[in-house]
Symmetry: D2
Subunit: 349 residues, 4 copies
């Protein structure tokens, strides 16, 4: 069943496999009148790009985003924005050895059991490359959010438990992974400033529920903290509750254990997510596995694979967060009848 | 905007506030031919019920579930099942003091900013009592899943970081909370056995993404682990990847760090979730807050409040997990054209 | 699969069978701050009520609507509004003879083939009584629309092809139907005034597409005209196109063949629908049919059945139209980024 | 708000304007294992193509459909199928005169009021060319339906009220239109054979409701009949009800006034729709209109426009009908718990 669409008012559908002609996204429900050109995508796409360094794959496509529809004379028109990213640097034959084998830590086995067949090249639809479409769509949401005063700070926060700032120890860790044909887990921290209070919906569509869905929809995510996250499970209520105080005539919280969300609705503080990634599952280190026909095998996966996921995934976390937040802000516009009346030029009852 | 509906094929909509005439759920898309009677709900509703002990509120409604539609002669008919749970034990006047004040750790401030007004009695829609409707709906999903060989084990796993098994230390902890008018955080562990491989969808509707949305839609949830969760962020790929081996002629994993899900699709192992709850925000311990009119206040909240959430929330986690899994299993039925042909009596191409 | 929910932002789910304890609707996504009390439903419910005259069934329930949630101190709160209409005047045993037989013109056979079982009493879920929930929900939408300057005129326009105004001929026709145990087809005309231009979405969610879905979701509807409808298929473009002219400084159409919708988007003129109903299928006149076990039978259906559908269905058409239009007006609020910026207090770029 | 997606399990999103780089569709939720190649689209796309004759525009693009994803080694994989149709024969400057004027019978005015700006070239998103994406997606649904024994017959049934068979009178009519720079209305008749009984859902997602939404989502559609349609409003129940009889051990209807649908659920007879189109609104005949800046104007529209819509729209009606029916057949697979148990290898209770 369909599972490639995300959002309610601002809706994104992605398509594409790692080794087909290209990947893309269709953004439907984008408000008209947002200035948009192909250059707007570049900073976002750059952050997804392998940097050729120790942390990432050698695949170096430029990932230029082409706008096929929905923009006229430099402005969004309100109609679907179709975005295309061509695949240009494919080595499909690299994957011939993987056609009939289930890679540990990958979706291969599940796909085969679900669909009865699969495009094995580069992971097909479950490739990390699928996120290129999300990042392109997220760049539009992030641009719109910036017009509303919302800004992001997202970064790899730790690798193998080592804070990212301590880069010399991280270099050692990665050198060790490389030498052993191994990989390592990592964390991304995303902080969002400027979301007004009142965004999100009660019950199932709580803002944190949608952010959690968004985060876990990224491959390799295994855990999520909102605000002080799992640490809240250790605290007393008197420690964890954030007091409200008045500041400049406004109610604000004097701490932010909540991570900006209370009862599923934004509380005006920064929204804070911490996303935990497993190690890259593709490693050259030998692993035990089985083939489609039921033979046990030893497998070492060679090719272009990042030894750690967070550095390139940070922008994916940010893009997904932007998709949730902009959609939620659009949804919020009809929360009060007085706002509906004002929109349509009626003065209320 | 609407946010009270969950699921795609098997869809649940809940309604109701803590202090209105009742709460309920409408389950649409339930297959016809499931034996169902009002007694089926009792074991589930009992687990949500306060036990009068140290761990929970003194409110002691029986929470009998009435079936208003969708069941005929003891069988589901395929049409919407409307479930009603009456509110019988309300002390609305307990809440008069809270009409104009924002309780720390609660959604009060967000609701006011969003809607401009709110039903303040008992938290209204954001009350933990809202979960009664979810649990009733989840009981139907769990019954259907049991017919498909799927079973659950869900329990409070830790309170304030102390494993639940060590009950004497927990009693001390809770006695301390009580004496100080305070509360404490907690964890729930949910393990699901019997989900076949191949369930879930690639990309946005990954099985873990939907489970995460479900978990974070429960009030007070601040973190989630799937499988070994955040610990995966510390491991090497060679440690974290689960090897495949052959067993009784079937591919199985020899470990389960993945928690039963790879690339968003079930892998045949047990599905394992760990859900982290903040401490109950309603405490009699004095807290600083502000009123609607912008005055700073000191607030102690008295009334019937559990000092810890996990014991009664375990069944809510199980119910939400059951909703996700049964829906995903129904969605999966159209994944292969050969199954569609077989269903309609055609023999394939 | 679920099919009992309608709408995107303002969403209605109905439940209930003709002969269970009651029927109802859950309205989610209703803006907060609409004054609402149980009396507001009465004028709408009255129009659905049999009047005891020649045109309708003798079943005479008061159809009082009870509000179970979502309204506090006389105002909608933005949370789900649960509405309950009890069934009080049931004669289930009237239907015993129909348990195993497929009534011509009814859904009995389809239900049996789909679900394998059905609640045969009074048509169960496919009863006209199901519309009580829609009408109750529609009353809320209509009230909100009236606050935005939108008003309705809906009426039975013809019975058996005779314009409703010519009531003496209609009385003769119905007397003839009654004497022969027969029924007759009919039409409803619905005109909506005050919908601003610009409502509706391009492509699949055209305003006329949603109105058509709404109209055909009412049992017994077999045809629909929008504007001049099928007559447009006979005209020349030069006759059918509505010229634009300036009036009081505004662009308006000097005719309204379009029925208020062009390219799926409202054009500022009155929205005009004509809905065509087949004759009531339940007739005492003998008909040929078959039983579940495959025996041919002659069947005459006795009981309380209207000989014609339009008089009581007019309010159902109006209610469904109101649901579409209010939802579309809420959806429209995010069409322009400048409106989003204004809502959030930003001044645009 | 988003309105470019159609369907529930088998979901189609279209994008693209008449004068951008191309148009396309993304099909998500297509079962894996359907043989598909680019040639499969050609017969469908050919039927949409102008034939250069009296009935259609001179624009003669081949409308080759490129598959960008979701197909591997000639089989659908279950992941999104992205389809691209390039625009190659554009004369954008033809439309310069229309930039600031509202064409009568078109969506121009509504778009401007909704979005504040629009791509005026060739109608932008509201162009008939948008249907190319739908037809491509519909070709996949039709292929799948053919594997299930469902077949279509769809054709222009009448032009200006003249049955299509009487071609000499139609040629005269069109010659007259051409000489006067005018256009004329038309009808399409679509008959579907082989849909089993039991397809469709009660209440809002009735099969006829979804077919009506589909039909009215096609530009220029102003009326729809299902079965005997508006004629049912003139008949007696004893005339209109279709008797059930036994034939070859099966219940069948001995007539088909219902058009294959009773109570929203297929009854096993042929599904019959008649769709009524207004005349092409773009005519060179002078019309009165207004400009964006509020000046009254006389307008004659020159360019490549069909004088009648039905001949090329027939395949669009068929494509939309196929999308509804295949989706409904997939949705129907979970209607009975016994089928769910069988699918998962359990033997029932």
């Amino acid at each position: 069943m369909a599972g490639s669409t995300f959002g309610t008012i601002f809706r994104v559908s992605t398509w594409g496999e790692s080794h087909g002609p290209g990947l893309g996204a269709v953004v439907d429900g984008c408000p008209a009148g947002i200035p948009l050109q192909e250059e707007d995508f570049m900073p976002y796409m750059e952050r997804r790009r392998p940097n050729g360094g120790a942390l990432s794959t050698k695949r170096t496509e430029a990932d230029k985003v082409e706008i096929l529809s929905g923009v006229y004379e430099g402005m969004t028109t309100g109609t679907p924005i179709s975005l295309l990213i061509r695949n240009t640097d494919q080595h499909s034959s690299d994957y011939d050895a993987l056609r009939d084998v289930y890679r540990p830590g990958h979706a291969d086995y599940g796909y085969d059991r679900k669909y009865g067949l699969r495009d094995h090249r580069g992971g097909g639809r479950s490739s990390g490359r699928e996120t290129a479409g999300r990042v392109a769509a997220g760049a539009i949401a992030a641009k719109a959010l910036s017009m509303l005063g919302v800004s992001f700070k997202t970064e790899a926060a730790a690798i193998g438990g080592i804070p990212f700032a301590e880069s010399s120890r991280i270099e050692e860790l990665l050198a060790d992974c490389r030498s052993k044909g191994d990989s390592v887990g990592s964390e991304v921290l995303c902080t969002v400033h400027g979301v007004p209070a009142g965004i999100g919906d009660p019950v199932f569509d709580k803002l944190d529920a949608l952010l959690a869905e968004a985060a876990f929809s990224i491959g390799a995510v295994k855990a999520l903290d909102i605000g002080c996250g799992r640490r809240a499970a250790l605290l007393r209520g008197s420690q964890n509750n954030d007091p409200f105080v008045m500041k400049d005539g406004k109610a604000v919280k004097s701490s932010n254990h909540s991570g900006g969300i209370l009862g599923g609705i934004s509380d005006g503080s920064d929204i804070v997510l911490r996303v935990f990634f497993k190690p890259t599952p593709s490693i050259s280190h030998l692993q035990q596995t089985v083939s489609r026909s039921g033979e046990e095998r030893e497998l070492g996966i060679h090719g272009r694979h990042d030894p750690v996921i967070a550095p390139r995934a940070a922008v994916v976390v940010e893009a997904m967060t932007a998709l949730v937040l902009f959609d939620a802000m659009l949804r919020n516009m009809s929360a009060r009848m007085s706002a509906v009346e004002r929109f349509y030029g009626h003065s209320g009852i």
